[in-house]
């Protein structure tokens, strides 16, 4: 059942000028970054692995931003355009509905990831890290995207409003992303270090650093970053589950 919802989303929401524009913008950003990394004199003084790490951070950052915006409206648009009632009168369950929408979000992430591959290959030329880079971007990006999409879907079901969901989701994304901008002194602070251990975005960036800069490629060598990401996904899934339960109790359409 959820595959029909997924197909509808691909056809109607993702395969549109809006999503295509997002992919073009992502591609332009990756082009611009790769060009700067490879041609700028000051940046070219950096070790190649540092350049790859910078590109990796940009790919994950852009993907999370696009996914946050898209996932914030993908559920509530059905209520705001009054299509939800007809949908839920058919044999579709809330679980099918959420699964279909989740698959659509993952498809968008997959499209952003595919767009990034040529840039990863070009930037990694001459190093042996291209495949590890691609593999870790896929794994870390997927964990980050799934965790954030669970969280955003949970917020969507609570608010039932795209506008409120997008505002809240962007604030949360910003709160998680801000420590990446901290200076070394701030990052060494105890509070900052504790937050870094649980912050999914920090864990993604630190794992990329571990793989690309410190050459620790195996999953076992990255468990300290992957485990918090898996825990983040589990917590956000629990939040989505509770939010869906509350949503069901209130009724598909709220009787205001």
């Amino acid at each position: 059942m959820f595959t029909h919802i997924w197909k509808k989303e691909i056809q109607g929401e993702l395969y549109t000028w809006k999503s295509m524009l997002w992919l073009v913008i992502a591609s332009l950003l990756f082009s611009f970054t790769s060009y700067l990394l490879l041609t700028n004199k000051e940046l070219s003084l950096l070790d190649q692995t540092e350049l790859l790490w910078l590109l990796g951070k940009i790919i994950v950052g852009v993907a999370l931003l696009i996914l946050t915006i898209d996932a914030s409206s993908i559920i509530n648009v059905e209520f705001e355009r009054e299509t939800a009632e007809s949908l839920f009168l058919s044999p579709v369950s809330l679980r099918d509905f959420i699964l279909g929408k989740l698959l659509a979000s993952i498809t968008l992430w997959a499209a952003v990831f595919l767009v990034s591959i040529p840039y990863i290959i070009v930037t990694s030329a001459g190093s042996h890290l291209a495949w590890a880079f691609i593999g870790y971007i896929a794994l870390l990006g997927m964990l980050g995207v799934v965790g954030f999409v669970f969280l955003i879907f949970g917020i969507s079901l609570l608010y039932r409003s795209s506008k409120n969901t997008i505002t809240t989701s962007l604030i949360i994304l910003l709160a998680f992303a801000t420590p990446a901008l901290f200076t070394s002194a701030l990052k060494n602070d105890v509070v900052s270090q504790v937050f870094s251990k649980i912050n999914p975005i920090d864990n993604i960036f630190n794992s990329l650093d571990n793989v690309l800069v410190d050459y620790k490629i195996s999953v076992i060598e990255n468990w300290q970053f992957l485990l918090p990401l898996v825990i983040f996904c589990a917590i956000t899934f629990l939040f989505l589950f509770l939010s869906a339960k509350r949503f069901t109790q209130q009724g598909i359409i709220r009787n205001d």
Binding site: T16, E82, E85, S86, S93, I252, N255
Partner: protein
Amino acid sequence: MDGLNLHIKKSEFFGFLGPNGAGKTTTIRMITGILTPDHGTIRIDGHPLEDKQKIASVIGVIPESRGFYEWMTAVEYLGFFADLYGIAGKEKEERINLLLAEVDLIKRKNSRIGTYSRGMRQRLGLARALINNPQILFLDEPTLGLDPQGQEDIQLLLKKLNAKGVTVFLSSHLLNEVSNLCSRIGIINNGTLVAEGTIHELQEKTKLKDKTLTDIFLHLTHKSS
């Protein structure tokens, strides 16, 4: 809603009347499982509402919210719902074409819904409600916004369906429509069922013999307000 007790018989054409805000849409949403009642039980064709798959397979609904996927064509739209009901292959194609012909949309079947008039959307909504060949139809103002010809076409189609044994639960503001189509009528006001029966029974109950449904409706809804 307050102590609403309704029993609709098989193959009946039941009219549900009430002033604005009386609780007609809320009742339909509760019966069809979209809203959860605080207490009480609802059974459709013997199945409790919790049996969503079974209920969804026997009912067809034109709900109050009339949203459509504007970017789809009528064929794609009905195809999407046919998929949800597990209707596939040749049966799906035949069913879609038959329904589009019934609601007079066959010539525009490949146009985007975004280009449809209100009346065309109403008719497409009815086609969607019929995609699973339902035994019971719940219609919330199905002729709202239609011109007289459009209203008559829909009414004829509903009569035909009822003659084939489909149970129809019709909520409408058009008292003429209800008195022409329905074999039994329920009148609701402020969430309470104030009267139920055939027009003749309602005339007797209200002691308004030879009066129209409009007179009975006004009498009952004013009295109970």
